[in-house]
Symmetry: C2
Subunit: 361 residues, 2 copies
């Protein structure tokens, strides 16, 4: 039924070896035969059996992506970018949803890692030691692992410029006259939340009279923002930076419900620029991050890296290197791509009100 390499060889009057070469190592066979074989293969509709090829070459032609939640707009956008780039390079993509559970993430990497040529992992909260264990023990030597939106010594990664995004947001608010700024953080242990807190501290140090209030940690979801909204109102800040857009949207909603006007009374800034950010009113001022590019870069890193370099156990490189975008090809350190971000100003931020503080009520 199905046409095999032997069939092609027979039809072309050559040996299977020659047929194989004509198709996958064309320069090893004489031009005349080569084209004959290719022609015959085309006519017969020959499709190489991936399993057989994989068995002998050890390459599957598949990559895999593990994310905490496929349905979140953030990861969906990343996944889309990963998928597109993978396909462009001839890879198929296995996708796994870890349901926000780091343990499941590890298990999935283990299972899928055995049947792919490389793994892209986005795990904001997996512990560093677990990360090490994954890349060292559970993944085969020649299956590279790339981290998305998370840096960890010894592993290639692609991250967004958290510090710069926060800085742009803070400057924007400062220029609008805001001096009391709140930060509604993400989950405890989230890598990017830690980064953004550093960035916030750094950015505010450079500005006069700015007082930053830490509003605490919240689930990065609309519901978390609702809770955060009350703290915003009670804190007396005139502007709030949210760890991500969903959180900001929740804050927006809660403030409105409480009669606090945005941006007249309080300005709100999100992070990520998910599609919903433009659907609400006032439209959300936020830090736009090119998520699809993030995904594409991860794939590129994977294929460039080839077999992953043996992970060093130093976690030092985690330091905040706000160097301008692009590769940093430190000698021994694995490649890490920094994706630039950009503040987009919409309607949720405005000049600070004179009366400044907002009483709870």
């Amino acid at each position: 039924m199905v046409v095999t390499l032997r069939d092609v060889a027979r039809a072309a009057g050559v040996s299977p070896a020659t047929a194989s070469r004509a198709l996958s190592a064309p320069d090893l066979v004489a031009p005349a035969r080569r084209e004959l074989v290719q022609q015959v293969a085309r006519e017969l509709g020959y499709r190489p059996n991936r399993a057989a090829r994989e068995l002998i070459t050890g390459r599957t032609g598949n990559l895999c992506l593990v994310v905490p939640d496929l349905e979140s707009p953030f990861f969906a956008a990343v996944a889309k970018g990963v998928q597109a780039r993978a396909r462009a390079l001839g890879f198929a993509l296995l996708v796994a949803d870890a349901e926000e559970d780091p343990r499941l993430e590890a298990e999935l990497v283990g299972h899928l890692g055995a049947q792919v040529d490389g793994v892209i992992l986005s795990s904001p909260r997996m512990s560093d030691v677990e990360l090490d264990r994954l890349s060292r023990d559970v993944l085969d030597e020649d299956v590279p692992l790339v981290l998305v939106n998370r840096r960890h010594g010894g592993l290639p990664s692609v991250v967004i410029d958290n510090a710069d995004g926060i800085r742009q947001a803070v400057r924007h608010l400062y220029a609008l006259g805001h001096r009391r700024i709140g930060y509604a953080g993400g989950p405890v242990g989230s890598w990017s939340d830690t980064q953004r807190r550093y960035g916030l501290e750094h950015a505010s140090h450079g500005l006069r009279n700015v007082e930053v209030t830490d509003l605490g940690h919240f689930p990065p979801l609309f519901g978390g923002g609702v809770a955060a909204g009350d703290l915003v109102a009670a804190s007396g800040v005139t502007a709030v930076l949210a760890h991500n857009d969903l959180l900001a949207l929740g804050i927006l909603s809660r403030l409105r419900a409480r009669g606090v006007r945005v941006p007249e009374d309080v300005s709100v800034v999100g992070y990520d620029d998910i599609p919903a950010a433009t659907l609400v009113s006032p439209a959300l001022t936020t830090v736009t991050v090119p998520l699809a590019r993030l995904g594409r870069a991860a794939v590129d890193l994977l294929v460039e890296a080839g077999p992953v370099p043996t992970p060093t156990e130093s976690a030092l490189a985690t330091a905040l290197s706000a160097a301008d975008g692009g590769l940093d090809a430190g000698s021994g350190t694995p490649p890490s791509v920094l994706i630039g971000v950009e503040l987009v100003v919409r309607a949720s931020t405005g000049v600070a009100s004179a009366q400044a503080s907002v009483a709870d009520g």
Copy 2:
């Protein structure tokens, strides 16, 4: 380096054949040996080589899902359900984004179909003949194809109860006193849009004095809704049904921008109940469809179906069977699952205003 079946066999003092059986057909080997082999395999950390197994069994252990847009909340939710169910059944999932291009969809099905045990395709706009060609010619005989949100004679499918959702929405609006109702449709050729139009006609026929206005076809996106919003305002309807939530959200936004109050002047109903439907204000009244269940059902259909039944060329079964949920196991017809839907009333619908018509302006 890597431990193979021979290693297990040797360590357990049995032949590879017995080792194989002990692990994948346990009842064929004596209890004592069976447990010995399993024990040894566990200790050695044996992991069967998928390629080798696939080569001989022909089964890959993978399924694949092809959708028009991974980033759309609709398909993302379906994908999440598919992924979860696939994993629960021991399958890995290949995901492909067809970028809204039916040609690419077909190509992806062709490419991926060769390396999976089954294909789930969600293609609102692929032509029926192309669908036939895919399942008949490009897919192997034993690779079943399941359609999501699309029915086509000869292929198993899982669809949502479009007619019932529309009916519920229309009744809701009718009960609120609306008599002039607009429909903002999806893209021309979209299967579910056709279904919803039938449902709309059917539902309105049963009600006195209801006048339905077809506002036309729109891209099922926020931007499409913005355009539709103007038509809504100009049409003089007191309520509008949108083909999906994004469209409804766009309409909401445009109406607000034009000073038309929702729901005081015009009521708006969406379809799908995507997360963003609750993020806007007024929160969107919409038809909630259990998208994850849709995805799970598709996987179940795939595995139950096993090798796909030879597709009959009759496209008759496409008729609108609004039978109550569950399987319809017609004799020769392939199984089709109908997923029930439910109207959720939020803030975007209200009683029809007395003055009824809305002037443009």
